[in-house]
Symmetry: C2
Subunit: 513 residues, 2 copies
């Protein structure tokens, strides 16, 4: 080693100049960002440039961050400014000193590239990739390539098994004393299809164990966890979840909180930006959570319709087969039920609006959405029989009785209270009614564009936002009769939604009467 010819001992331990950590209080949604001064000698001597990925180290802790540079006083030359995510990950206190490094080479990039080039993921590569996603070593740009590569190939059971295994391995895994632990999942894409709280209440009231975790919305206006969050606390830890289930037989918590699938929301964040759902990733995500939750018997509901997530009977059967195939590989008994996904299920679309529908069914209100009630009863019936909570053939009558005599609602409130509280969901600040322009008959309802409408109104970010749909397919309507009510927390959002509706008035198609 020579400096203009002079030898320099590379093997002697170098003194790495530490930088003082500065908390920028910058909120980035789980993205680690580091900002150094352009004249920072450490970054210079390490040859680090703007937008580089860097490794931050303090004692035994480390984090990968994206580096930006500033030639201003925001960060001094001996400081390093950090986003909240990086700050929390490193467990820092103001003034702590940390060192800045080139990241060690990311070995999972090899497997990721193989995947991009069309090879099937091996279990080893999948494990590496998910480990690096959870550790924050892979950037969103890299995760995006991975998701896109997965979505670009037809799904295959063995690859989904590898993905599932990798996702189970990086999270916690629950075990239960019971031999039978039931669970359900709906593939989604059907606005307002919020059967979970009803099904869990009925099934737990019947004495079965159902440790249900749900997810936040990916591309939809509300995930079950978003809806539940308007009714109770959902961000329980694994230990808290265990206590609720031991006490009440069931729970309804957000999967992201219990660390059963810690890669999920990092992947979902990227899918959301791409407005993309990926079948392999979806099946692996669902099955890994069921496996991690310790389930033994799982019912998968696949709604089918031209504008649902699954559009054809063949597609639904294929998806059901993937779920069963992956379940089998892990010793789970999986049953699937393919349901009608022609139109929205409840009346409301959006977290709080759907919660109102759920309460109406649980409280057996006269104007509760009938379709939502019926679907929840059907699913509960199958699960009760799967779990042998009633004699074969008596699932329906058992489920009906539990709902109608108030046991389901009492169980629901008890579970909510065990999770922290039970509350009634709020209503949005602004509402706008869209009326029918002329008398007609409802021909069809476009679930996708209706979901988009609810999202433009602010769902799920604003929990009370969304749309309420007042008509069903086949209904006769008169001029001036309400078709849809938009709910929103800001005028701006309602305006975007209304603009969109005006360009898409055919999202509810009408026959002339």
């Amino acid at each position: 080693m020579s400096d203009q010819g002079d030898d320099l001992d590379l093997d002697a331990p170098r003194e790495l100049t530490p930088l003082k950590a500065k908390r920028l209080k910058l909120h980035t949604q789980r993205e680690s960002i580091a900002i150094v001064n352009e004249r920072c000698t450490v970054a210079r001597s390490e040859g680090l440039t703007e937008r580089a990925r860097v490794e931050l180290r303090i004692e035994e802790r480390q984090a990968i961050a994206r580096l930006y540079q500033v030639d201003d006083t925001m960060v001094a030359t001996d400081e390093i400014g950090l986003s909240e995510t990086a700050w929390q990950k490193l467990g820092l206190n103001e003034g702590d000193e940390l060192t800045l490094h080139h990241p060690r080479s990311i070995s999972s990039l090899g497997g990721l590239r193989r995947k991009v080039y069309g090879h099937r993921l091996s279990a080893g590569h999948a494990a590496e990739i998910f480990r690096d996603i959870v550790d924050g070593r892979l950037s969103d740009v890299q995760i995006s390539a991975f998701i896109s590569a997965l979505a670009s190939q037809p799904p295959e059971v063995s690859e989904i098994v590898a993905l599932t295994q990798a996702m189970v391995a990086i999270g916690d895994r629950l075990t239960w004393p019971d031999n039978v632990v039931v669970d359900k999942h709906c593939v989604g894409g059907l606005p307002g299809n919020r059967t979970t709280p009803i099904v869990v209440s009925i099934v737990a009231a019947a004495g079965l164990t159902i440790p249900k975790t749900s997810s936040r919305a990916i591309t939809s206006p509300a995930g079950t966890a978003d809806t539940l969050a308007t009714l109770t606390r959902v961000d329980l830890s694994g230990e808290e979840m265990r206590q609720v289930v031991e006490q009440q037989g069931g729970c309804m918590v957000w999967g992201g909180g219990v660390e059963l699938s810690p890669a999920d929301d990092l992947v979902i964040r990227v899918e959301r930006e791409l407005e993309l759902d990926c079948t392999s990733q979806m099946v692996a995500s669902v099955m890994s959570k069921k496996i991690a939750a310790g389930s033994t018997h799982v019912l998968i509901d696949v709604p089918v319709g031209p504008t649902a997530k699954v559009r054809s009977q063949a597609g639904a059967e294929e998806l059901a087969a993937f779920m069963k195939g992956v379940g089998e590989a892990f010793g789970l008994h999986v049953e699937t039920i393919i349901t009608d996904g022609l139109q929205p299920i409840g009346d409301g679309i959006g977290p709080a609006l759907e919660a109102h529908d759920v309460l109406a069914v649980l409280e057996c209100e006269r104007n509760a959405p009938r379709e939502l009630r019926q679907r929840a009863l059907n699913l509960a019936a199958v699960i009760l029989e799967m779990g042998a909570a009633c004699p074969p053939g008596q699932g329906k009558s058992t489920a009906n009785a539990i709902l109608d005599d108030g046991r389901a609602m009492r169980k629901f409130v008890a579970i909510c209270k065990a999770q922290g509280e039970f509350r009634r969901p709020e209503r949005a600040r602004f509402q706008h009614v869209i009326e029918c322009e002329r008398s007609a008959r409802i021909a069809s309802i476009d679930n996708r564009r209706l979901a988009r409408l609810a999202k433009l109104a602010g769902a799920p970010r604003s929990p009370a936002a969304g749309v309420v749909i007042h008509v069903n397919i086949g209904d006769p309507v008169e001029a001036g009769q309400p078709l849809i009510t938009l709910h929103g927390e800001s005028i701006g959002e309602l305006e975007y939604a209304l603009d969109y509706y005006r360009m898409n008035t055919d999202l509810i198609e009408k026959f002339a009467k």
Copy 2:
């Protein structure tokens, strides 16, 4: 529209509260970032959250940025902090007021998703996608999905034509008075293969028009533009490039500066993070620049070797066929030459080190890398004949004469001066010689790992960094004889390179003698 029941007129123009632009002097490598205070009422009332994509507007100008939030004094509640890229794009002055909006929906995402799901890109979708990339409407996460989807399918001429057309359409397009305008391109992957400056000098000295643009490195330790930047100014505008070509017959400029292909470096930035090259994108990128540069006759050099970018004769022929097929669709005469890519061409790998090799050839130094000289002469010979600058069959002798009698070097210096200056490249601050441990014979050299070594040493970010290789395949070597010299601007980088070498001593394989 109702606020707790009261009607509100949505159609009345709303007063959008403007935010004061604050220049954060944040350097992000072309990423537009906006930071607002968490208590900023505008972001709140518009329902915008951290990491959202937002649209900034001032008068008729607009830019899309990624939004972060801060609960600190970095940005006041009536301010919006902007990265340099956003600042420049909006052409702001301190204190200018701008408004913050939800971005209009990104229509190109539809085409992007179709591509992810395995459909071939139509010309219309390709045009939409590239327009949105250049306008900054698509984020890096979205560009990554696009690149990954492209890379995941076998390339196809009609799709590459669509890509090429889209890339040509968004940039400038040059025209020349001459009927014959020649150009060359090397597919790369062969460290040190820096024939361009030599070929351009010979060809221009022979009187042909050769408006050469080159690119920066994607995944390699040096692109031709990186090498040229150590010798002259390369970031010329289209108009400056025209003047140089009119005066000298040829030029050697960076393609990114002349806006012939404005999407290129945004795409390359993502490819770099993925450490990925994509054939369709590469062919489209190359051909679009040739078309935009107004070329009529193009020679493509495809080096083949087990560790070159193209590994097999079949792969090279396929690539050559894509180049020809796309050229044909645009009326270009494309010839290809498949060359030996077994080992590095020059002695140096890294911008300045390769520039030293180029000068050695142009100045006919006795120890100039012979292989580099021979390759440059071969390519120049074909181009001279393609462009009818000499009688058929006399390309080689003509090229030889122009190089050996000093006309090529004089032309090179003249072009450099016309571009702004001619200078000798610098040497790196630190050097470390790796010696052979025992006497042996060189069996093989791994181009990929050698390139990685040069990158770890700091190339191309530090122009003088890289490696010099002192042996060729088949050479006998003695213990203590230099194999490689590492060049770097920082100890840190040399250490990374040396660590890597120690784990990869077989990157130069040796036979026992």
